[in-house]
């Protein structure tokens, strides 16, 4: 198929055609290393994905399959080799596996910086930052330094900072992978609660099948080398779910089987 031109992903492009979307990813290809350093290695191949406004989609795949690369493209941190990404709103917010809070600022000031960069006038910043901290149940942490917070608290502040961007789309790159099981559980609750109260669309990347089923309305499985959309599941289990729910476990078993088949394929040649 002919490669389409890349549009400026930060433009407020009204979604051109068809159904409304928080983001529409069309025929995305991405290769690394073409400039001199060896042959171009395709990482993503013909990715097509539409996220509806307010939808929670989990992107699942083995390590190194290109999940972070895809998020980086959607966030505008990198350009695709070909294909187009259309955003329904402004620049998406992005949350990383490591909290990425700025250690020279307090928790509250981290959020205020996001507000400032968004253009919120100075007098409104402090109350808004306090409100966002309350939203992630960290009302008392405004003055706390990043190193004084636990891993779970850092990710909650990072979530509050991402929400401060007031974006329609939240991209999350394995944000809870480094946390212990019980903290992760709490943060799953927290995230579902925050999401259910806003009109936020979420694209949540993980390599953890149960986490994907616990959170997502839809789970998209990415194959490896090159990364393609291998399969998709709609998760009909009502929220609030728990990671131990039998329905979550059952679907996880099915998806894990598929993921294993997908990984095994690479051992054969």
């Amino acid at each position: 198929m002919p490669p389409t031109t890349t549009t400026d992903r930060h433009e407020r492009t009204a979604v051109a055609s068809g159904l409304p979307a928080a983001v529409r990813i069309e025929h995305i290809h991405k290769s690394f290393g073409s400039a001199g350093s060896g042959p171009a290695r395709p990482v993503l191949e013909d990715i097509n994905l539409r996220i509806r406004p307010g939808e929670f989609v989990c992107l699942l795949g083995a390590s190194g399959c290109g999940k972070s690369t895809l998020l980086g493209l959607v966030a505008g941190l990198d350009r695709p080799t070909s294909g187009r990404i259309e955003l329904g709103g402004t620049r998406p917010a992005l949350m990383f596996q490591e909290h990425a809070l700025f250690p020279w600022l307090s928790a509250g000031k981290n959020i205020e910086l996001a507000l400032r960069l968004r253009g919120v006038p100075r007098p409104d910043r402090r109350p808004e930052a306090e409100r966002l901290l309350e939203l992630v149940r960290l009302g008392g942490a405004y003055r706390k330094r990043v190193h004084e917070l636990s891993g779970g608290m850092r990710q909650r502040v990072a979530l509050a900072r991402a929400l401060a961007q007031d974006s329609q789309l939240l991209l999350m790159d394995e944000p809870f992978a480094a946390l212990d099981a019980i903290t992760r559980d709490v943060l799953h609750e927290e995230l579902t609660r925050v999401w259910s109260r806003t009109s936020l669309s979420v694209l949540f990347v993980t390599h953890n099948v149960r986490e994907a089923v616990r959170l997502g309305q839809r789970v998209v499985l990415l194959s490896s080398r090159p990364g393609r959309v291998a399969r998709e599941w709609t998760v009909d289990i009502p929220q609030p779910r728990r990671i131990e729910d039998p329905a979550v476990a059952d679907l996880s078993v099915e998806i894990t089987e598929e993921l294993r088949r997908e990984i095994r394929r690479h051992g054969k040649h």
């Binding site: 307010g54 929670f56 966030a75 505008g76 941190l77 620049r91 998406p92 917010a93 992005l94 990383f96 490591e98 990425a100 700025f102 250690p103 020279w104 600022l105 910086l113 996001a114 960069l117 968004r118 409100r131 309350e134 939203l135 149940r137 960290l138 009302g139 008392g140 942490a141 330094r145 990043v146 190193h147 004084e148 917070l149 636990s150 891993g151 779970g152 608290m153 900072r161 961007q165 212990d180 099981a181 019980i182 903290t183 709490v186 609750e189 927290e190 579902t192 609660r193 999401w195 259910s196 109260r197 806003t198 009109s199 936020l200 309305q217 009502p238 929220q239 609030p240």
Partner: protein, 354 residues
């Protein structure tokens, strides 16, 4: 991992038993604030006092499924427990212990050096004019104090040093920024700047004197040549050490271009930059003393370097020793009074120093 979870579960049980127990610094369940509730959507379970989360009918379809009030309170309590268990308490060292550990050892060392000096004098190991009694140095100091010239001499040098340092700061900072951010400039100037750092700035004194004569300008030129490379290099290495994650995070928040430099790059590079400033001050002071010693002239104000040189020509050994000691003490004092507190503060707020 296993122990953390076990501890967390203990806390969970405690919190489930007493859901209203307030943890210091964390709002008790039910105090999440009025803005936590969507104003137009009353909570259906108003009977439950512990529900922090009003079950709003959000725009997301699954959000309409009500969370059990018990489980919401449970999660808030669990979270508060985790937060309390997992946060580091702020470390505090009492002032007395700090003084004992930080001040006592160097004072003892200085006392020992003085004692050895006195013993050597008493043992008459060499002539008096080569190794004067410590009290002779003390008398020279008293003399300067009584003349009223002590502070003039110190101030002449310190004001030159600080002024030169500020000029070096104003030149070195943009230079460092350019070298760090513009590849062509880095390729051209980077090696020269690092090379200049290993050139003793005394080597510039003859050139500066020929170009500018024995003037204050020559002194400042030597200071600049000594300090600018340190400051610029400090900023370059500070910027090089900024984790790319911060830049990516800044980018997604909209901090690009100049805003990125101001809000992300420079604050993130501050520790390396401060190390460069500290070294830049040491170089400024050293270069200035070298310049004052070599290019000493009665036309210029009397600084510490000239005082030392004058004492040498007068074969005044107590004066020479006094000059050396004063130069050392002032260099240390500026470092301790300005740069060390600055550096400590920056590192401490980032959790990089205890």
């Amino acid at each position: 991992m296993a122990s953390t979870e076990a501890a967390g579960q203990d806390a969970a049980e405690r919190d489930a038993a007493a859901p209203d127990a307030a943890v210091p610094g964390i709002p008790a369940p039910g105090t999440a604030g009025p803005d936590a509730a969507a104003p137009d959507a009353p909570a259906p379970h108003t009977t439950a006092p512990n529900a922090t989360v009003p079950n709003t009918t959000g725009p997301n379809p699954t959000g309409s499924n009500p969370t059990e009030p018990d489980s919401a309170g449970d999660i808030a309590g669990l979270e508060a427990g985790l937060d309390a268990l997992d946060s580091a308490p702020p470390p505090r060292t009492p002032l007395r212990r700090l003084l004992l550990h930080k001040a006592l050892p160097p004072i003892t060392a200085v006392a020992l050096i003085l004692a050895v000096w006195k013993l050597l004098v008493l043992a008459r190991i060499t002539d008096d004019y080569k190794l004067p009694d410590p009290t002779a140095v003390w008398h020279s100091l008293r003399q300067l104090w009584l003349n009223g010239t002590l502070f003039d001499i110190i101030w002449t040098s310190v004001s030159r040093g600080l002024l030169g340092f500020l000029a070096a700061l104003a030149i070195g900072t943009p230079l460092g920024l350019l070298v760090a951010r513009v590849p062509v400039i880095r390729a051209a100037l980077g090696p020269i700047l690092s090379g200049l750092q290993s050139l003793p700035s005394v080597a510039w004194v003859p050139a500066a004197v020929i170009w500018l004569g024995i003037t204050d300008s020559a002194m400042y030129a030597v200071i600049l040549l000594g300090a600018v490379p340190s400051i610029a290099n400090g900023l370059v290495s500070g910027i090089d050490q900024v984790p790319p994650l911060y830049l990516r995070a800044g980018h997604t928040l909209g901090a690009t271009g100049l805003r990125g430099t101001r809000h992300i790059l420079l604050p993130a590079a501050l520790p390396g930059y401060l190390a460069g400033l500290k070294q830049g001050w040491a170089f400024s002071w050293r270069s200035l003393m070298a310049a004052e010693l070599i290019a000493s002239s009665p036309d210029l104000g009397l600084g510490l370097g000239q005082y030392l040189e004058n004492a040498r020509t007068d074969s005044d050994m107590p004066g020479v020793l006094l000059g050396i000691i004063l130069i050392l003490l002032i260099g240390i004092a500026i470092d301790l009074l300005i740069f060390t507190p600055l550096e400590r503060r920056v590192l401490r707020t980032r959790g990089l120093a205890s």
